[in-house]
């Protein structure tokens, strides 16, 4: 006879709640909330040599982390703001550096990406300060991280209604980010 003991029903309940928790966060559509700018952008690490004691970069809380709606809005903005013009349709890179690989010149932490977009970077990255609102920039940050698969698989974008140039983000495997050592300006042979 099947007897549902106290323990097993408790276990089932917690399992359901945890699924529920992940479910809610992925599906949230937040419209009227304007997130603050990134608190402080950690120093850009150019090489592993560190003067003084090693400082641990504190990862800031990214408001749209693992939120499917924000990532898909980020993709829409990526095309509308013509980021694709320099970084390639799916982050494949042309004039600007590719965004779908694992090399990060200015760090893969959300606040670093936020700073790259707001303040711009040498060699042609325009500053979007005042041009885009904070939540739009955070959505773009979410999409940039999504390009190299830094989100959970069930949150990432699937294909777009465009030509299938390259494997869509959902089926791409995750590129664990590592800082790229080429000093800015050197021509990176493909």
């Amino acid at each position: 006879m099947i007897r549902f003991g106290k323990m097993s029903s408790l276990l089932v309940l917690t399992a359901l709640l945890s699924i529920a928790a992940t479910g809610c966060k992925r599906e949230e559509r937040r419209f009227r909330e304007v997130p603050p700018a990134a608190d402080q952008s950690t120093d850009i690490v150019q090489s592993d040599l560190q003067p003084g004691p090693s400082i641990v970069a504190t990862a800031t809380q990214h408001p749209y982390d693992q939120n499917a709606y924000a990532i898909s809005s980020g993709k829409r903005l990526y095309v509308q703001m013509n980021c694709a013009g320099c970084h390639g349709l799916a982050g494949g890179g042309s004039i600007g550096p590719p965004l779908m690989d694992d090399k990060w010149i200015y760090g893969s932490d959300p606040s670093n990406i936020f700073a790259s977009i707001v303040e711009g970077r040498p060699n042609g990255m325009p500053a979007w300060k005042g041009k885009l609102s904070n939540d739009q920039i955070w959505q773009l940050v979410a999409y940039v991280r999504d390009l190299s698969g830094l989100h959970r698989k069930d949150v990432r974008n699937s294909r777009g209604d465009n030509m299938a140039a390259v494997q869509d983000e959902q089926n791409r495997n995750r590129q664990t980010p590592r800082s790229s050592f080429e000093p800015p300006g050197s021509v990176t042979t493909p």
Binding site: R159, A164, Q167, D168, N171
Partner: protein
């Protein structure tokens, strides 16, 4: 209505009957019709998508190669007489012959399933490159699951015929053979569509 008047007694009726007289035949045929219709809808989708293209298969997509699929089709067609033979043996309740027929059918089924997995490579395109490749992968995969289910069914009945044999399993052997014939015959038009569609449509 508590009063009843007996007019006849049915305890003498047979319990082992074949063909449409048997319940299981209706179940197998029902699901065969459903799967056949679903595959038909996939074929209609194939033709519908064809009209969206001026060139078929779309530019940059290679023609599907014919060798492997034709071999697979030949094996399937060759297995039809075997299925009919097994069906007759089962209907004549010859246990030994039915067992042989079942083992051979199981082997042929496994071979065909293996070839089907290999057949995906002869499509010469990835399922996510365009609508053409999506639909031919779906047709191949859908029918592939039918082959898998039929092979699983055949292996199951073969084990039963050795370990738990009863007279009531003979109609099941016959139905399994009919279901295999359906799986083969439904693939012939789809084979033409998937492999000769790009050449003729």
């Amino acid at each position: 209505m508590n009063r009843e008047r007996a007019v006849a007694d049915v305890s003498g009726l047979p319990t082992v009957v074949f063909g449409p007289r048997n319940l299981v035949w209706w179940g197998t045929t029902g699901f065969a019709v459903i799967e056949g219709f679903s595959l038909g809808l996939c074929a209609v989708t194939y033709v519908y998508l064809r009209k969206n293209y001026s060139v078929w298969p779309p530019e940059g997509t290679k023609m599907p190669s014919l060798l492997l699929p034709t071999i697979n089709m030949a094996i399937m067609l060759a297995s039809l007489p075997l299925a009919m033979w097994t069906k007759k043996r089962a209907e004549r309740l010859e246990l030994g012959a039915s067992r042989i027929g079942l083992i051979l059918s199981a082997i042929v089924g496994l071979v065909v399933f293996g070839l089907r997995i290999a057949e995906f490579t002869s499509l010469n395109t990835q399922w996510n490159s365009n609508a053409y490749s999506s639909i031919i992968w779906t047709i191949l995969g859908f029918h592939g699951t039918l082959i898998l289910i039929d092979v699983y069914d055949t292996i199951g009945i073969t084990l039963i015929s050795f370990l738990r044999m009863e007279s009531k399993w003979f109609p099941e052997i016959a139905d399994n053979a009919t279901y295999w014939m359906f799986t083969v015959l439904v693939w012939f038009p789809l084979y033409l569509l998937v492999y000769f569609g790009p050449r003729w449509l």
